[in-house]
Structure formats: C-alpha cells, structure tokens
C-alpha cells in the first residue's frame, strides 16, 4: 500500500507556489477574484479548505497561528484547523490576536485592531458578490471586467423599497480600491469598517469555488450604499454580560426556555483579555486563567 508522506503544512511545494502566485496576483489587483487550482484537502469543502490552502501556502516555521470560527478560538472547527497546522507544520499557535502573525478566520474580524505584518486569512464559501443576482460565472466575470455594478444597486434599491432599509446584515458587499465589488465573506456588517485602510494584509480563500482574492494593507474598502441610505453598523445594544464591553459584536445566548437570553462577546480572546484586565459584566464568572493551547 502507498503510505502517505506529507510535506510541511501538508501541501507540496509546487502547489504552494501556484497558490502564492494567485495570492500575489490578488494583491496586485485588490478585490479581483483570481481563479486557482484548488486542491482536494483532507477536510470537506465548506469547512475552510480555501482558507486552509492560503494559510498553508504562506505559513513559515516562525509563524504564530491563530484560528477562529465565529470569533472564538474554541469552536470545534477552529480547533480542528489549528490542530491540523500544529501537526503538519509544527508552528506555534496562539489565541491572542496581538501575538499572531497569521490569523485564519471564519465569519469574524477580531475586535483588537490588527497591525502591520499580520495576515488575516478569511474562509470564503461563495466569493462572487453578484452570484445571487446572476448565477452564471461567465456573465458575472464580464460584469466585473466592465465594472457593471448597476445590478448590485438594484438589490439595495429593492431592499429599501420593500423594507425601508438595506436588508443585508452579513456578507455585505464592498468596493475595494474604488474598482472591484467584493464579498467580504459572511462576516457581520459590523466588521466591514475594520477592512478599510487596515494595516494587515487580508487574504480570502474559496476552496470549492476555486478563487483567491486579497486586500493589500492600507487599501480603501467602502461598503455599498446610497447617499440618503448610508451604510450603518449593527450591534445589539447591550454591554457584554461577561466583560462589560460596549463596543464588541455580541453572541446571543439562550439561557432557558422562558425567553431569557444574555449577550456576550463573540470574540472570546477580546472578552477574556478584558476580564483579565479586571473588566466585569453582569454575569461574570471568575476570569479564565487557563488560556488553552500555546
């Protein structure tokens, strides 16, 4: 039987070079979706195979990796991906946003501001922001090439006509570097402003759809809107029940079947950091001393 032998960070060097070329092209054309020959990974499509391939291609032995899903380091899929790289690349891992050199994420951007030299790798399910308006790839690629984005505004118009608001709450489309309309992946629109003029490099990997795109550091990222219906962030209006933060995106926790709920930070590192500094919310437990993994 052919016994498998795996390379550093799983992918072979030839594949990594191919992915790096796609990443470089993506950086050169901010917001443009670069087709790449996505490999079949040992985890299912939809579990972050695009992000994993991007991370595998850029990871070096000195990197410090953080993986989050829904803002948390401790959700099962984040753990699974972190373990994958700890095993195949032997890199150091962390849960502290500030200490990481590479952060792979699904659905959130950390609350702590990112700094220069960091790379944020997004897992992307559907990279095409026009997909649900126009299902054909041949047509959407032409629309991007010609900068024909009227249809995207038609969608926003319809939202306002029907609901009085732009009714997109996550995967809220943005225009990158005043050229390409881009899907930020299913992050809540609360996170959109963090993408703009960000000091960190932002890379996006869609494995099943075989696309990579990028936002270089300090690039303009503008959420689409109308002058008289400007983009607004959304956050449940309450402080975090654990750390009292009034500026973080919150998870809603259903605590019984009588309609009781509480709201806590979705970014667990941020929340734990604040608690360690002595911040308290209405439901605080003793601050978590043990920080899993290292």
């Amino acid at each position: 039987m052919n016994a498998p032998v795996y390379n550093f960070a799983y992918l072979d060097e030839q594949t990594k070079r191919m992915i790096r070329r796609a990443i470089l092209k993506g950086i050169a054309i901010p917001g443009y979706q670069v087709p790449f020959a996505s490999r079949e990974m040992p985890m299912p499509y939809g579990w972050g195979t695009g992000g994993v391939q991007v991370t595998a291609a850029i990871l070096g032995p000195d990197d410090v990796l953080k993986v989050i899903d829904q803002g948390s380091d401790d959700t099962t899929n984040a753990i699974s991906i972190r373990k994958f790289f700890a095993r195949t690349a032997g890199v150091a891992t962390t849960t502290a946003t500030a200490d990481a050199t590479v952060i792979q994420t699904r659905h959130r951007i950390p609350e702590a501001p990112l700094h220069g030299g960091q790379v944020l790798v997004y897992q992307v399910p559907i990279p095409e922001p026009l997909r649900f308006l126009e299902p054909r790839e041949t047509e959407t690629r032409r629309m991007h090439a010609l900068g024909e984005y009227g249809l995207m505004h038609v969608k926003l118009y319809e939202d306002i006509a029907r609901f009085g608001h732009i009714a997109t709450s996550y995967a809220y489309p943005v225009k990158v570097n005043a050229r390409y309309v881009m899907d930020p992946s299913p992050t809540p629109k609360f996170d959109n402003p963090k993408m703009d003029n960000c000091p960190a490099l932002q890379l996006f990997g869609a494995g099943r759809e075989k696309r990579i795109y990028a936002i270089p550091p300090y690039t303009s990222v503008v959420s689409l809107d109308f002058e008289d219906h400007p983009f607004t962030r959304y956050r449940f209006d309450a402080p975090c029940a654990l750390c009292g933060a009034g500026d973080s995106y919150l998870d809603e926790i259903v605590t019984d079947d009588q309609g009781s709920r509480m709201f806590v930070c979705s970014d667990t590192d941020y929340c734990e950091g604040r608690q360690a500094e002595g911040h308290r919310g209405s439901e605080s437990a003793a601050p978590h001393k043990e920080r899993p993994h290292g």
Binding site: W47, T49, Q70, E158, P188, K189, F236, Y249, V264
Partner: protein, 369 residues
C-alpha cells in the same frame, strides 16, 4: 452565572473514539478484510475508484471500510489522498478497441463482428431476494469456452467506416491533456475537461440528468451503440527510453451512444457521439455519462440550449459530489454570527412593521422576490 463553552478539543477526540467504535460494530462479529470488500463489494469499489479518480482497488476498499460504507465519504478519502500524489505525466491514450472483452453488447445491430457477449450482468436476473446468499453460498464455477481469436471492432468504428457517424475528434498528440484538478476551470470548457468532470461526477446526479434528456429535457435520440467491459493495457511514454512502457492493465467500462443529428447546410447528416468511460464495471455511470456528454455538446453542434443537461455551467458546477456534500453539510457548522446579524435586522424590521401597521392599517405588499 454563565461560563463560556470550552472543551471543544476533548469533544472532538471523544467523537473520533466513538466513531471508531461504531465503525467496528459488534466485536463478536469478524472484522471485514480489504480483500473481502474488494472481492465481494466490487461494484462499490469500482465506483469509488471512478469518482475518486484513482485506480487502486486496495485503497478504495480501505476507504469504503473507513467510511463505514458511505460511498461519498469513501470517494472523498480517495480524492484527498490522490491530491497529494506527485504527477509524472499522462499515459498514452488507452485503446479500447484492443480491450480483452468480458462483456460487450450493442443495441443497434443484432450481430456484430466478434459477437455480443452477455458477461456478468444483473440485466436478466429476477430481483428476488436470495436467502441462500444470506447463509453463505458456493456458486457454481463459471462456464468456459475457447478464447475467441476474433477481433472486436467498436460499433462506432463500423459506422464510421461508412461516414454514418461523425468522426471521433482526434486530439493532436502534442497538445497538453487538460486536468481540472490542476488548473482552474473556466467556461466555456472544452470536451476533454467536460469528460473529465463527468467521469468524476456523482453517478446519481448523472443518472438523473441523463434520464431527464430521455424524457424530453434536451432530447438527443440515443441508441446504445455499444457497451463493453474488460481489461486494457495502460502505457506510459518514458522520455528517457524513447518508447511507450506498459504499466499494467486496468478494467474499464466504455459506453458509446449513437445520437441523431440533422446536419447543416455545409455538412451531410450523420449520427453524433456521446461517450462514457469509467473504471471497473460501471454501466449505469457510463451510460448516463454518455447521455450527458452528448447533451453538453449542444453548443458545438449548434443546438439550442434549453434543458439543464445541456447547460455546461450548471452541470459541471454541480456534478461533483465531494464539493456538493461539503457545501450542503457545512450548514452544520456554526453560523451564530451571521444568524445573530440576521436576527437583529429581522427584529428591527418586525418592530417597524408593527408600528407602521398601527398607523396605516393596510397589508404590506407581497414581496416581489
């Protein structure tokens, strides 16, 4: 007092332990060997090799065992392994005309050079559950006869000699072989990539699409020109020795459909081809594949594209069961964050709606989409 959920890592480890336990089943019952799976569930192994795109019976049997009999999971395991294998190059095209035929039927001619050979087939079995099999059976040895020396030309070659069927497009020997596992796919896609996609495609998906063409959704008037099963030599052109080196034999099923075509102002009418090829014995797969291949040729044959089976972007984007199952099943992953965002918006809209309804007691227009 609320404590954030922790311990996901241990949960994963425990889940894997439990999975291994369930996989083994009743420990009083002997464990399946790979030889048993490969030998006795051979059509399942064939399908895993075909859709996994890797000709290795032992690994396919292992995958089926590891996947607890889940075909798509097994195909996925084989694919993930295949992705890590180095590429040395492409083999020479296999010559199915030289196949050591074990089964061969044509529905277009009563008798053909080399004859019709029924071979191992369910086709004329009566589908009655067989209690003898449950107890362990000792089937009779198969009937034997002198090996025939007759050549077995492909039926499509016989038609081709009279120009009744379009010539099979001959690829320039020097042109590179497309590989959608190494290069990103773009549309429109050429037939080599379409066939590769169909060969890897989910059998059930192709079956349904092929069936839809028969029921009128892009009808192509098919006849099963020939289906053959047997062994063919695989040869590899080794640059340093300068000639093709035989690598061994593989079992293949090939289906050539003969389809109608009206001709054009510049070309005399002739039959057109639909092609299916798979590892092992995979007749349903190759027949469905041949129907869909023919349908996907609508663009090059100047036919109007009106049905799903003719739409290459639709077919090729949705045929891969590893991709499809990944995206469908990823809905299991947490979506707390976007759901929360949606919940917030919905609450706001409902509040505004109820406020507006108090002021103007008119029903809201039905949504346009």
């Amino acid at each position: 007092m609320y404590v954030a959920v922790k311990g996901g890592e241990r949960a994963i480890e425990n889940a894997h332990r439990l999975l291994a336990h369930e996989r083994r089943g009743d420990r009083e019952v002997p464990e399946l060997s790979l030889a048993q799976i490969s030998g006795q569930l051979s059509l399942g192994v064939d399908r895993i090799m075909t859709e996994g795109s890797l000709y290795d019976r032992e690994l396919a049997a292992l995958a089926l065992k590891q996947a607890r009999g889940d075909m798509i999971e097994a195909i996925f395991l084989v694919r993930a392994f295949r992705a890590t294998l180095p590429r040395f190059g492409a083999s020479e095209p296999v010559d199915t005309g030289q196949m050591q035929v074990r089964r061969r039927i044509s529905s277009t001619f009563k008798d053909i050079p080399g004859g019709q050979i029924l071979g191992p087939t369910f086709d004329y079995t009566h589908r009655l559950l067989d209690p003898e099999l449950a107890e362990g059976s000792k089937p009779e040895a198969p009937a034997t006869a002198e090996a025939s020396a007759a050549t077995m030309p492909r039926v499509t070659d016989i038609l081709g000699r009279d120009g009744l069927i379009e010539p099979s497009p001959q690829l320039d020997a020097n042109s590179p072989v497309g590989d959608l596992t190494r290069e990103p796919l773009s549309f429109p896609a050429d037939r080599d990539l379409r066939l590769q996609n169909l060969a890897r495609a989910d059998e059930g998906f192709l079956l349904a699409l092929g069936y839809s063409t028969q029921r009128g959704y892009g009808r192509s008037h098919p006849f099963a020109g020939e289906i053959r099963l047997g062994e063919v030599e695989v040869e590899f052109m080794a640059e340093d020795v300068g000639f093709a080196v035989p690598l061994g034999a593989v079992t293949l099923t090939e289906c050539q459909m003969v389809n109608q075509f009206k001709g054009s102002a510049t070309e005399a009418p002739c039959f057109t081809r639909g092609y299916g090829l798979a590892f092992g014995q995979s007749e349903r797969k190759t027949m469905s594949m041949a129907l869909v291949d023919r349908s996907l040729r609508a663009r090059e044959l100047g036919e109007e594209i009106v049905a799903p089976a003719q739409d290459e972007e639709f077919v090729m984007s949705h045929s891969d069961n590893v991709q499809a199952t990944g995206f469908v099943e990823h809905l299991k992953l947490p979506h707390y964050v976007d759901f929360q965002s949606e919940l917030g918006l919905l609450r706001k809209l409902r509040q505004e709606f109820s406020e507006a309804t108090v002021e103007i007691p008119e029903p809201m227009q039905e949504a346009a989409e």
